[in-house]
Symmetry: none
Subunit: 198 residues, 4 copies
C-alpha cells in the first residue's frame, strides 16, 4: 500500500520524488508552527493548511500526529548527525571534541525554540518508545571521540555532555545573546569540567 517497489527502478519514480518533497513540505510547516505557536497551535489542520495540502494528504504520509512529531525530531537529529559525522577524527587542531561541541552548538543555535519544544515532545513520546536510533548513533560517535581524547566515558557522561550543550545554548538564546564565540568557549569549559568529574 505504501510502496509499490517494482523490480526495475529506472526513474527514481517521479512519484517518490514528489512524495519526498511533500513530506518535507509538511515537516517544515510543522516546524514553523511549533516555533511560532508552540504545542497549543500544533494541530493537524494547521499543519496541513500551512503546508498547502489537505488533511487527507497529510494522513497519507503520516499515520497520525505523533508520527509527524517523531519525523521532525528525527529530521533535526539527523541534521546534527550529518554535521558531526563529517568531523575528521584524525585531525589535531581543532580537536575533534571541540569540533563536535562547535557543531552541536551551531545546530542547537539554528532554531533554538524549535529544538527546545522538540526536546519536550521527545520526552513525551519517549515514554512509550525507544530513545531513537539517531540519538544512539550520535552518542556512539561522541563516545568514540571522547575515548580518543583520553576521556573514556560511559553513557551517563555522554548524556550529560549533550544535555549541557543544549541547556547552555537554550539559556543563551532565551537572552538573545549574539556572541556565538563566547558561548562556544563557555560550553567547552563546562564540558571539560564535566569530563574531569569522577
Amino acid at each position: 500500500m505504501i510502496f509499490n517497489e517494482d523490480a526495475v527502478k529506472p526513474r527514481k519514480s517521479a512519484r517518490q520524488a514528489r512524495s519526498a518533497a511533500t513530506v518535507e513540505v509538511i515537516l517544515e510547516a510543522a516546524a514553523r508552527i511549533l516555533e511560532k505557536a508552540g504545542p497549543s497551535g500544533f494541530t493537524t489542520n494547521a499543519i496541513a493548511d500551512r503546508a498547502g495540502v489537505s488533511v487527507g494528504s497529510l494522513y497519507q504520509y503520516f499515520p497520525n500526529k505523533d508520527a509527524i512529531t517523531r519525523a521532525l525530531i528525527r529530521r533535526e537529529l539527523e541534521a546534527l548527525e550529518t554535521a558531526v559525522n563529517a568531523i575528521d577524527r584524525t585531525q589535531t587542531a581543532p580537536a575533534p571534541l571541540d569540533c563536535f561541541i562547535d557543531r552541536a552548538v551551531a545546530q542547537q543555535l539554528r532554531r533554538p525554540s524549535l529544538a527546545k519544544v522538540l526536546e519536550v515532545e521527545e520526552d513525551r513520546l519517549g515514554a512509550n518508545s525507544d530513545r531513537g536510533p539517531v540519538r544512539a548513533r550520535i552518542a556512539t560517535l561522541l563516545s568514540g571521540i571522547l575515548a580518543d581524547a583520553g576521556h573514556p566515558a560511559g553513557p551517563d557522561v555522554v548524556q550529560d555532555v549533550i544535555a549541557l550543550i543544549a541547556t547552555l545554548v537554550n539559556a543563551a538564546a532565551s537572552r538573545n545573546e549574539d556572541d556565538a564565540t563566547s558561548l562556544r568557549s563557555r560550553v567547552r569549559l563546562v564540558i571539560d569540567a564535566r569530563l574531569k568529574a569522577l
Copy 2:
C-alpha cells in the same frame, strides 16, 4: 507552613483550615497526575477525581486550570526558596554557595519528573506573565551569595547556574542514579567552571 497561627485567633475558623487543606489536596493530586501521566493526562476532571472532590469544588478554589498549574509551580519554587533562605551566609564551611547548590540539587531531586514538567509549563505560561517573583527572589539571593564568594555575576550567569543544576539532576534522575554525593560534586565542578568563564 504559610500561616503563623498564634494563640490570638485559636480556631483559624475550621472552615479556612479545611479550605487550605482542600487546596493542598488538589495541588497534590495535580502534582501526581503531572508526574505520572504528563500534561496530556492533566485534565480538570482527572485532578478532581484524584483529589476526591468534584470539578465544581475544584473551581471554587481555582479560577481556571492554568491557575492550578501556576499554584503548583509556586509551591515547588517556594519550597526551594524556603530551603535556600535558611542558609547562613556568614558560615565558611560548607561555603554558602556549596550549600545553595546542595539544597537546589536536593529540591530538584525530590520530584525530578514533576520539576521537569513544571519547567515546561512555566515556559508556556511565562509567555504572558512576568517570570514569577519567587524565581526573582531566588535569583537575587544566589546573586548575593556569588558576590560574597568573589564571583560577582550578572543575571545571565545566575540563570545558567540554575539551569545547569536542573539539567544535571534531571539527567541523573532519568538514569535512576542513586549516588547523590557524586551528583553533588559533579554539579559543583560544572558550576565552578561556568563561574570562571569570562
Copy 3:
C-alpha cells in the same frame, strides 16, 4: 412546612415579619440583577450575593429559581393591580379608561427594562402554568371599565390593549424618551383605534 399559622396570631410573629422582609430583599436583588445583567447574569448565587444572604437561605424562601422569577412577576403585576384598583370608576373626568391607561403607562415606565425581561420570562414559564391570577384580575377590571365606557370588549381586546401599552412604552423607553405626556396621548390614541376596530 412553610407557614405554621396557629389559631392565635397575637404578634404577627417577628419571625414572619423578618421572613417577609428577607423575601422582599431577595426579590429586589433579583430585580436589579435582571435589569442590569439580563437573564444571563441571573444566577441564584448572584441573587443571594446581592441580597446579602446565603444561597441556602434563598432556598429556604423559594423552592427553586423559577419560583423567584414568578414571585417577581407577581410583585410587579400586583403593583399595577394596586394602582388600577384605586381608580374611582364613577368619576367622569378623567375618564376611568384614561386613568387606567395612565397608570399602566406609569407602571411600565417605572422600570421598563425589568418589565420587558419579565414579560419574556412570563412567556417562558407560562408554557407550563396558568397565565397567573393577577393578570386575570387586572383583565377583569379593565373589561369592566371598557364596558362602562361603552366599549364592551372580549378578552382578545383586553389582551391587545394591555399589549399595546407595553409595546409603546418599551419602544419609547428604548429611545430614552422623557416626555411622558406625549407618550400617554399617543397610547390613548392607539388604544382608542383598537377599541373601534370591529
Copy 4:
C-alpha cells in the same frame, strides 16, 4: 435564492451547493427548536441532532452558537425584506403602506412564536453589535413609503409602527385567531392612529 447562477460556471461546485444546503438544514433545525422548546432547549447539541449532523459539522459552518442565532434573525428579516421590497411604490390601490402592513403581518404570522423568540434574542445580542443592517434597510423603505403617503415620519414612528405590527400579530397568534382579514384591518387602524399622533 441568493446565488444568481448563470451559465458561465454551470456546476456551482456540487460542494458549495451541499454546503449551502447544510447551512439551511442547520438553520431550520435551530428554528424548530427555538419554536418548540424555547431558548432553554436551544443547545448546540440539540441543534446538531435535529439537523442530522454532528456538532463538529455545525461548527464548520458557524463559528459559535450566537452566530447561528444571528443567521436565523437575518434569515427571517431578509424574508420580510424581500417581501416588502417587491412592493410597487407607484401603485395607488392598494396603497403601498397597506401593502407593507399586509406583508409584514403575513411574515410575522408565518411563524409567530419563532419571530417572538428571535426578537428577544436580537435584544440580547444587540447589546454588543449594531442593530443589524437588514432592519435598517427595512426601516428606510418604510420611512419612504410613509413619506409618499403624506406621513413624513422620524425613526421613532417607524420603530413604533413595526413594533405595533409585531405585537398585534403575536397577540392574535397566541389566541390562535385564524381570521387574517380582521387582523389586518385591526393593524391598519392602529397604525393609522399612531401616524396621526403628534
